[in-house]
């Protein structure tokens, strides 16, 4: 177990050391809330209605942007090869990286959500639901992202391709995520979202490990 | 031809569109096959053959 947590800690340390890309993603996240009113118009009522959807679009785009960093740095400097032959099974390595990635990219987004809520004139009653929805849904995005990143590791500009591959699969996450914020069936949406996250997080390490192994055969 | 009704344009449009795309698809598949064969013929003309071809046993 200590190898696992050491890997998580390592990834977190590296994320904060290497150019602070995680911070950039949060800026991107907030940026979308800044740009949206210029596209939609400053009508507060309209913005408030669109706010849950806009927050989720911002979260999705930020996660898609960030998924490339899951494996690329390690693949480039050879660490991935070392990790493959380390004591931990590759699936556990992927799981550790998933956890670290969520902590480094998704958690800051969730913390920054109130800022978006204010910019988009979101009804304060929905703030809590929004944070909860993102907390329950971003793991699924990370899980899908890992499969996309593993499949395209080693490809030049693989990040764009991974985003294109993952985006259609992320539609259910967005549907349930937005549904969990407002509307009549918010409760069941949240449960479905949670179920989706749990299942994808359970399966993703295996699929991603398979892709990583296949890519290097 | 039987009467197509008030929405004839949509019916014709659908059939025409499908015909056009299928024709393009068939054309592309055929052209691609032709191009690869050309490449193989060019390589063959340069004397580059598969090692197994010179034996007589079909690969």
């Amino acid at each position: 177990m200590s190898g696992f947590s050491a890997l998580v800690a390592r990834d977190i340390r590296l994320a904060f050391r290497a150019g602070g890309e995680a911070f950039t993603l949060v800026v991107f996240f907030v940026m979308i809330a800044v740009v949206a009113p210029f596209a939609i118009g400053p009508d507060k009522v309209l913005l408030a209605r669109l706010a849950p959807g806009l927050v989720w679009i911002a979260a999705l785009l930020s996660m898609l942007l960030g998924l490339d960093r899951l494996f690329r740095a390690d693949a480039e400097d050879g660490s991935l090869l070392l990790l493959r032959h380390a004591g931990l099974p590759l699936e556990a390595v992927v799981a550790a990286k998933l956890i670290a990635h969520w902590l480094v990219t998704a958690l800051p987004l969730i913390v920054a959500t109130p800022l978006l809520a204010v910019l988009l004139s979101m009804d304060p009653a929905m703030w809590g639901a929004t944070v909860l929805s993102l907390a329950c849904g971003t793991p699924a995005l990370v899980a899908f992202g890992a499969i996309g990143a593993a499949v395209t590791v080693g490809l030049p500009r693989g990040g764009v391709l991974a985003a294109v591959l993952i985006a259609p699969l992320s539609i259910p996450v967005v549907i349930f995520g937005v549904g969990a914020i407002a509307g009549q069936q918010a409760g069941s949406a949240l449960l479905l979202l949670l179920a989706l996250s749990l299942v994808t997080c359970a399966v993703s390490p295996f699929a991603a490990a398979l892709a990583l192994r296949t890519g290097e055969e | 031809m039987i009467e197509l009704g008030p929405h004839a344009a949509y019916i014709v449009g659908a059939y025409a569109g499908v015909a056009a795309l299928l024709a393009a698809l068939i054309g592309w598949v055929a052209w691609d096959a032709h191009r690869v064969r050309q490449q193989l013929r060019a390589l063959d003309a340069r004397g580059i053959r598969r090692r197994s071809d010179s034996g007589g046993t079909a690969a």
Binding site: P168, A211 | L40, G47
Partner: protein, 255 residues
């Protein structure tokens, strides 16, 4: 003539698996299958325009579009099924031609899916008033198209086509598992945003002439896919040969 007089006639599996064998036996089939396809299309079109009724209660006078829409919608899913089986062939059984089958099928599947959306839109406009509807079926078809396009992009991104084949197989299977989830989530989402009409492609009690015409058309389209698929597989086998020969030449191997 075989040098080895004791060589067995290749069994059915190796006829499918060995590229050279596949090339040999598939060649003679292309022309007969193509002619059969053309014949079925001719019969189908005649049935669609001269035998089938021009309208029903459900859809009105635009009924004849069904003969273009349903076969393409069927193929969009059938081709993905073929690709999924091929993906299993690559990953589980290590079948040598499975990845070629996957690669060859992807552009075909994308084309049929695009046609399904196109014909669906043209059917929807006069019949139900709108070109597009965010309902479960149309949205899932759109997502399917995006998945097809993603797989095509994936194939093109790799230099090493063998590696690409295994990766594409994984993506195909992940997509296959996800499509039902997407369909479910879109249906759920649809029930939230009531008000849009639910598209119905003909009721269960369709006249026999309609069913027969549809059956012929679907057979014609399926055969068309089969012919195009076989030709594309052959082309891909030859393409890989050409690539490795060119590489051989570039390395200065003796001619």
């Amino acid at each position: 003539m075989s040098l080895d007089s004791t060589a067995k006639k290749p069994n059915w599996f190796s006829r499918l698996a060995h590229p050279g064998e596949f090339l040999r036996w598939s060649g003679p089939w292309i022309l007969p299958l193509s002619l059969l396809t053309a014949l079925l299309f001719a019969i189908g079109l005649w049935l669609a325009f001269f035998v089938s009724p021009g309208e029903t209660e459900n859809v009105g006078t635009t009924l004849r579009i069904i003969y273009m829409h349903v076969p393409n919608a069927w193929l969009s899913q059938f081709v993905y099924g073929v690709m999924a089986v091929a993906a299993l062939g690559t990953l589980v059984w290590r079948h040598p031609l499975a990845d070629v089958a996957n690669k060859a099928a992807a552009p075909l599947g994308a084309a049929f899916t695009a046609l399904a959306l196109f014909t669906g839109a043209l059917w929807g406009r006069p019949t139900w008033g709108t070109f597009w509807e965010w309902d479960g079926r149309m949205t899932s078809t759109l997502v399917l198209l995006l998945i097809y396009l993603g797989i095509i992009a994936l194939w093109r991104a790799f230099d090493d086509q063998l590696r690409a084949g295994r990766i594409a197989a994984i993506v195909t299977l992940v997509g296959a598992v996800n499509i039902p989830i997407v369909k479910f989530s879109v249906d759920w989402w649809q029930t939230l945003h009531q008000g849009s009409s639910v598209l119905v492609t003909g009721g269960p009690r369709m006249a026999p002439t309609i069913l027969w015409s549809l059956a012929v058309m679907m057979l014609a389209f399926t055969l068309l896919f089969l012919v195009l698929h076989i030709v594309s597989i052959r082309t891909e086998i030859l393409r890989r040969r050409a690539t490795s020969l060119a590489r051989q030449a570039a390395m200065g191997a003796d001619a």
